[in-house]
Amino acid sequence: MKTPALAIGWTIWRRHRWGLIATAACVAIAVAASAGVRACRDPGDALQLCGMLVMPLFACALYLASVFAHGFDTDLVTAGTAFPSRMFTLPVPTGALVGWPIAYGAAALALLWLVIAGLILRPAGLDVPLWWPAVMVAAVLAWMQALVWWPFGLAWVRIVVALLVVHLPISATMVALKLDVPEWAIAAGLGVALLVGLMAAWLGVARARCGVVPSWEWLTNVGTSIDQRARRRSQFGSASRALAWYERRRHGLALPLMVVLIVPICMLSFFLEEITPQMMVRNLGLAVMVAVFCAGMGAGQVGRNNTWVREHYGLSSFAATRPVTTAAMVAAKLRAAARTTLVAWGLLLAMVAVSLFASGNHRLLGSMIGAWLEVRTTAEVIAAVLVAGVLLVLFTWKRMVESLMLEMIGREWVVKVMVFAGLFLGLNLAVLGLYVFVHPEYHDAVRAVMPWVVAALACLKLFLGAVAIRALRRKRLVADRTLLILGATWLTLFAVLFGTLAWLVPSDVAPPYTLAPGVLLLMPLARLSAMPLALDWNRHR
């Protein structure tokens, strides 16, 4: 290693070699699979399948972006720079510290695109452009790197700015394509964007390297004066309340913040275009799914101790030495997640209501409900809305709690395998689902096999839940009485949901024997039961 360029490259390689090898393997498998598909399917079908094969590779692109932005080494929510501070003392100019990761990242992502386009999409007959998308991904990465490395001086500002800014090279390119701007001009514009990202990254790291961080003292002073009252507050009263407060402070902000940032975008079309009933359903559906979708990321991944940060893994000795049982720690996490879920849903409903009334679309919604009431009884409509509401809130909470599970396990290798395997499996299932959706000839077969798949998954879930509960009892992590109360609550909720759905859904659409395992799959059980075991495994290593 004679040069800083090689040393910086080696550091990245050494730290992420297994992930990079796995990424390369995924790409190679996709290329080989696309060649196989082209050889044995007709061109139209092959093109569709190859397009779907590309989708899981977005996870690879995301991984590469995280690697070259040093996203695995630091806390993205930190007020200072997220550039690894250990590198600041290296005797190399800031340009080298910044330039080489940007260059390597740009090369890696551009190469990924060239492989996708040149070896998968083009041979399948889709004439995608080669060069400007390569420059675009490099520019987006450079902007991401600049945002990650810039010292903002206030926690969370980075996330907000990233949500507002990072899509700009893509959006501008889409607009340019719509305006028929020549491709060479688009590539040149993206080249300029890449340079802007590079300069911003250099400036940010240069400032961070000499300790220049913007002061938000005025805001801190406002916060302090607001906090005066809080400081005079009485004590927590009990250990469980203190634990719940601790969990809320750590994870409570992420989900509501994401809802506040994303839901208004879903509601934008209410103010921009004439809304039809179909558009109303689509927009409301999108807004509602924001909370459910973000809950999976909201708890741990974007919070102070996000999954990508090395220091995240394991339990701090401060937290582990609280004189409470492991079950009490888990209960505090569950309560905090419940409160966060309710706050997020409260905000979501308030924003949707304000958007509907401010845009005048509440009349359309009213007429749609009126039309619904003409074909269904009032009781059925109220029950359907209540069940949907309970299921959505429950599912949001479930997803949030399941993402907390990663934190509880506390082993870096388990967390990473779970995250990437989940992402890979999810994307592949999405591809499979899409494929089946666009091929009506498979629908009957899928409809016939689906109840069996759902039943098998429900049985598996029940089995895993039973194993976890048995282990809980054996290790005496949760008192038998608590287990009984939780079991009774679970059964009651299951019975109410199943009973209401069986009443509302016609049996020719979904017979009760498919509804029951479906409801079971939606309800938290196996991972929820395994949480005290995971935290115990983490707490007593």
């Binding site: 400081r231 927590f236 701090s316 000795s317 004189p323 492991t326 290593r541």
Partner: protein, 298 residues
């Protein structure tokens, strides 16, 4: 195996991290009311041993009892009686000092608010300051406030002096240890600063590469070790073989040995090698530790 007079009983505790043997069959008792210094070089296994006492590590072999309880099976029973200051001092950076105190208070029914406030003022900590904005020394002081304010039966300090300047270190450590031990409580603290251990502790344990080479009263340790200077008639290229000698220093006709054993027997043995004992003294803990550590390598 568990001594009722002991606050801590460790029996043949073994811990391995991959190929590295961090603790190798360690057995020790920490008597009630003692100030127990855990001594060892960096990587000797001090923090690993302390983490076992807190239940943060599960013994792979052997057993650990604190207040006659298993810290893994009964974390509440053990941790509610321990005040702990960790080596990393990993207090949550986002908490303010007053929040940290309020938060910690919730877990300990015998939290003494007056005492906590006195400690906070003594350590000059602003309640509105966030932990992440404190210097290393201030962070240690904050950790000490929340570890002491409920007057724990056992205070465990893992490298408490790190980050503190020498004057504050002497004052704080002396005051803390004296206070706690005077009230009949027990202190276990680890350090590789041996003068500090020698000044405040009455019992010591020496850990060398995961093995316990000595555990007992400091006075007994010092009484069993002697520094003897032996003069020979002629030039000696190397020191003589002397039973009980842990380390030799010197050249030519005069050699100084750090020995373990009864003084009379050592003197007689030294003279039997043809030399004459010209000086004798009590070695410092530092000298004993270095001799013991070096001895275990050969």
């Amino acid at each position: 195996m568990f001594d009722p007079e002991s606050v801590i009983t460790v029996d043949r505790l073994t811990r391995r991290f991959g190929a590295k043997l961090a603790l190798d069959g360690v057995s020790l008792n920490v008597p009630r009311g003692s100030v127990f210094g855990l001594v060892g070089a960096n990587g000797a296994g001090k923090t690993t041993l302390i983490k076992h006492l807190l239940g943060l590590y599960k013994p792979q072999a052997g057993s650990v009892r604190v207040f006659a309880r298993d810290p893994v099976a009964d974390p509440v029973g053990v941790l509610s009686r321990i005040g702990y200051l960790s080596e990393d001092n990993d207090l949550p950076g986002w908490m303010r000092i007053d929040e940290l105190m309020r938060y910690t208070e919730s877990f300990f029914p015998n939290w003494d608010q007056e005492f906590a406030e006195k400690l906070r003022l003594d350590f000059d900590l602003d309640p509105a300051t966030k932990v992440k904005h404190l210097s290393r020394g201030q962070r240690t002081r904050a950790g000490l406030v929340v570890a002491l304010a409920y007057r724990p039966d056992l205070l465990v300090l893992d490298e408490p002096s790190s980050g503190l300047d020498p004057i504050v270190r002497r004052d704080i450590l002396g005051a803390v240890i004296r206070t706690v031990s005077e009230e009949g409580r027990t202190v276990l603290f680890s350090s590789h600063l041996l003068d500090e251990v020698e000044r405040v502790s009455d019992h010591v344990a020496l850990l060398v590469r995961g093995q316990l080479v000595y555990a007992g009263p400091l006075e007994e340790l010092k009484a069993k070790h002697h520094r003897l200077t032996v003069r020979f008639e002629g030039y000696r290229p190397k020191p003589p073989a002397l039973a009980g000698a842990l380390a030799w220093e010197g050249e030519g006709p005069e050699w100084t040995a750090l020995c373990h054993g009864a003084l009379g027997e050592l003197q007689a043995a030294a003279e039997a090698t043809g030399g004459r004992v010209v000086d004798r003294g009590v070695p410092s803990l530092d000298e004993i530790f270095v001799a013991r550590a070096a001895g275990s390598t050969t």
